[in-house]
Amino acid sequence: MTEAPGAVASERRLDRLPSLSGDAVARGLKAVLTAIAIWALVGMGWLSIAPNRLLPGEALPATAVLGGWAHASALALLLIVGAGFRRDAGEAARAARFALLLGLLIGLLILTGIAAGRSLEGEPPSARCMVGAGFFTMVGAIVLLLLDEARGVRPTLVAAIVLCGVVALAIAKRSGAFEGLSIMVEYRARSDLFRAALLRHVALSVSALAIALLVSIPLGWLAFRHPRFRAGVNALLSGIQVVPAVALFGLLVSLLSFALAAWSSLRGLGLAAIGPTPALIGVAAYLMLPLTRGVATGLAAADPAVIETARGMGMTDRRIAWEVRLPLGLPVFVSGLRVAAVQSIGLTTLGGLIGAGGFGALVFEGMAQFAPDLIILGSLPIVAMAILADLALRAFELRVARPLS
């Protein structure tokens, strides 16, 4: 871009003149989020006591459940946000506010857990204490404030503060602060199942990703080498994407049972019509599109001039592929890998419908029973794994891309 400096300056001035400044918008957002969090604390249902795990309970506001702590928390929130409202004072101040906000959030979690345990005293054992809409709204608002505060703070510092928070939560959990909450009751009743589901979910999504990689790397290579082949592969893999996953899984169950009836020797290989086999094949089938595309576009990412230079230096095609195309195309490939990994975790959930286990089994059992706590117990780990995989591979993507820029 070669523009006259005057033009740039005038554009900037014209742009700023009639519009709000970015600071004002960011401040407005902060004010709105703070107001929402305070409203959640004083005006919405915080905890509800239900006669059993299926019936809805009577919602109580935080002011009734936490007493003076609710007001104190609202005041603390106001002070923390207010301290950074007028002026943005550098990284240290931001980091301090981030830590204080996180501390407030964790404090509220622990207080809510203790309050839940206390409010169950004297109730029959089937009674459950569930967190309500106000609690979730407050958590959402504070997480957004945290995300906003984390801008401009070094990622390592953010990670260290978050780690301290996680340790605090783990200690609180050990000392039994959350035992009264219905979701913990649900977890205690199924802790073995939960652990088995975690192992199965991770094993299934990782194996599906590995299977898909084994197929996609040669496929992507072929698609890169032969443009005609590429169109066919693309059409086929895109076609798979529009078949609903639930249906593909179901059809695989039917096809496998036909195949096993026809060739019973396949059973000797440990294949079965329901369970992990169809889930693995089904999930891997969906992952092939992002992976194959990642490989093919990654290989094509290198500038033709660079390839020419390498050839001019006397490099063979094989060496060019390994030493030029691979490093230059790695960010594109990792981006495809990220999409595939996140999809793998999500799609494995549906394996629960065909007896493959994993967290999907908990979620669908919860839906069938209309038991919100069981649904949340199965869903939260899936969300956490998907977001963590996304963040981790995004960071890796930036890392492999950095030497180029």
Binding site: A7, E11, L144, A245, A247, I345
Partner: protein, 245 residues
């Protein structure tokens, strides 16, 4: 020209898949593969479900598009630039959450029916539209913007008469991708009681009736290709009209 070819090819695939979903063809196909004879889903029921399925997907994509374009225009303003990282993170997180999990989590709060599915599809489709809008607006040449300002365009005129029209091809491409995704994904709504083409798939899974699964799958895929074909052919029609001087 390419658009016309792709559109016609998608329409042909949609037709072929619709033929597979047809009760008679599907029955014969399952029997040929060694399945037993079972009552198929009647064609009129399938059409009714397809209409509901399409309504659900189109509603969700419309909401996601309005949200995505609005957010995209907002974060490309100087006032919104400060919020861009926050919006990016949030929308990426929404897309990382598997739609089935959104449906399951929204199910106790929103109840039986299509509401949880609409929510899940909106979450899933905002990101592609937002990305397309941002890419489109960022590709608008600075000269075009400066010329518009020099001509005395207001901020809104700049957005609606210059930036959005110039970004439209990329936005339209993103909405097409979102629509196809939404049609294919809407089937999971059946797990929370939304009447979609996923309904025969789920009942088929529960009753081990592979015929119903096949019909639901083929009909959903047909609808997805139909959406693609309609979008591409519609674009051909719109683009053929002469541009006003």
């Amino acid at each position: 020209m390419k658009q016309l070819h792709y559109g016609l090819a998608a329409a042909a695939v949609a037709l072929a898949l619709a033929a597979v979903a047809d009760p008679d063809t599907a029955s014969r196909l399952v029997e040929a593969l060694g399945g037993t004879r079972k009552p198929p889903v009647p064609a009129d029921r399938l059409l009714d479900l397809a209409a509901r399925h399409a309504t659900l997907a189109i509603t969700s994509v419309a909401v996601a598009s309005i949200l995505g374009v609005t957010l995209g225009v907002f974060v490309t303003r100087s006032a919104g630039a400060a919020l861009r990282p926050l919006v990016d993170t949030l929308v990426a997180a929404l897309q990382a959450i598997p739609p089935i999990v959104v449906v399951a989590l929204a199910f106790p709060a929103l109840g039986f029916g299509s509401a949880p599915t609409v929510l899940a599809l909106v979450f899933y489709c905002v990101m592609p539209v937002l990305r397309g809008t941002i890419a489109g607006i960022e590709a608008v040449p600075g000269e075009a913007r400066q010329a518009a300002r020099a001509m005395g365009f207001t901020r809104w005129q700049l957005i609606w008469s210059i930036e959005v029209p110039l970004a439209l091809p990329l936005i339209s491409e993103a909405v097409r991708v979102a629509l196809v995704l939404a049609v294919a994904t809407a089937a999971i709504g059946a797990l929370a009681g939304a009447a979609t083409l996923g309904t025969p798939i789920i009942t088929g899974l529960q009753n081990q009736n592979e015929l119903h699964i096949l019909q639901g799958a083929a009909a959903t895929a047909a609808l997805a290709f139909l959406a693609e074909a309609a979008w591409l052919l519609g674009l051909c029609l719109v683009e053929r009209q002469p541009v006003e001087a």
